[in-house]
């Protein structure tokens, strides 16, 4: 987890086409494709909030919300 931050992965399953770009380029292997070929945050606790998935997602289906913790 990013230090002192809480990260939420908002993934729009209706828009995700399962191309796997987010899964392939995640530096911490947080994301996976599920049995429906949709991206899911399988290990959200490992996320460092770099937003590379959000920036590269062609379907605009991922939003990373970062809240600065206490």
């Amino acid at each position: 987890m990013a230090k002192g931050k809480s990260v939420t992965h908002v993934i729009n399953r209706d828009w995700c086409k399962g191309c796997g770009i987010c899964v392939h380029f995640c530096p911490k292997q947080v994301l996976e494709l599920d049995s429906d070929e949709k991206a899911v945050a399988a290990r959200p606790e490992d996320c460092i909030g770099c937003k590379l998935c959000e920036l590269r997602c062609p379907d605009l289906a991922i939003q990373i919300l970062i809240e600065e913790g206490e």
Partner: protein, 274 residues
């Protein structure tokens, strides 16, 4: 400049989503970079006009909630020129494909560069005509397989950066969809630039280009852009001159912009004469 959190819903026509591009198509990444650049600049939806031609990439205008026009094949720039001259306060952006810009609209492209009209042209270069069945384009390059070149393309491709430079564009840059943040910042600079800006963004077509050329799936095609491009003037070019350079190649603020020139050289003179 905007400090608020980027919310994609502010800029899109959500009723048309999910968009029709194939899984892994790079055009969606370009759309994301464009929207983030517009957000960074703090532009309102009504301040922006997006004009596109025909092709997969040109479908973008339908998805964006700005003043948009989806025009004829290759004719996005003439339409955009009219819009810009009618309302010079609009930020006019023309996102189009490699075929639309360099083949069907090639003539319009060089003359827009020559006039130096304040329009931002974003060329999504996937080196193929995706929508019509994978025919080769002037950007495909020698040896590339396409539905119209099963033995490989015999002709050389354009170097879009050199073409735009030679034709007189006052801002010329190249980036890729792998470098999405760089693309966002480059588009931002291009929109801010007063004059004709050309941003070539290397994008991937996994369906038509990838399959025929055994380039792998979308992530592998994106990976190719990481491995085969370097920042402008990199030392790696000495070992491998075939690497594609990224960066801002021209950023000239001295050249007279067309709307300003038209005001001074035509409108002001007509008004004076009465």
């Amino acid at each position: 400049m905007s400090d608020t959190q980027f919310d994609v819903n502010k800029y899109i026509r959500a009723q048309f989503f999910p968009q029709m591009w194939c899984p892994g198509c790079g055009h969606g990444t370009v759309m994301g970079a464009l929207l983030r650049a517009i957000h960074d600049l703090g532009l309102e939806n009504d301040d922006v006009s997006v004009v596109s031609g025909i092709g997969c990439s040109s479908r973008i205008s339908g998805y964006l909630d700005f003043n948009t026009a989806h025009t004829m094949h290759g004719r996005a720039l003439p339409t955009a020129t009219g819009i810009k001259l009618a309302n010079p306060n609009l930020k006019v952006i023309v996102p189009f494909g490699d075929g639309d810009s360099t083949a069907i609209g090639g003539n319009h492209f060089i003359h827009a560069c020559r006039r130096n009209i304040d329009i931002t042209a974003i060329v999504m270069n996937n080196r193929i005509y995706g929508m019509t069945g994978g025919q080769y384009s002037p950007m495909s390059g020698r040896g590339v397989k396409a539905s119209t070149a099963p033995y490989g393309v015999p002709d050389e491709s354009f170097d879009l950066v050199e073409l735009a430079k030679g034709a007189g564009a006052s801002f010329v840059a190249r980036t890729t969809v792998y470098h999405a943040k760089e693309a966002q910042n480059t588009i931002k600079k291009a929109i801010e630039h007063k004059g004709f800006s050309v941003v070539e963004i290397l994008s991937m077509c996994p369906t038509q280009f990838g399959r025929k050329n055994k380039a792998g799936e979308a992530p592998q095609m994106m990976e190719w852009y990481k491995d085969n491009t370097v920042p402008m003037g990199s030392k790696k070019l000495a070992d491998n001159p075939d690497l594609i350079q990224r960066g801002v190649f021209v950023d000239d603020n001295e050249r007279l912009e067309y709307c300003t020139a038209y005001q001074e050289l035509v409108i002001d003179k007509v008004m004076k004469k009465g």
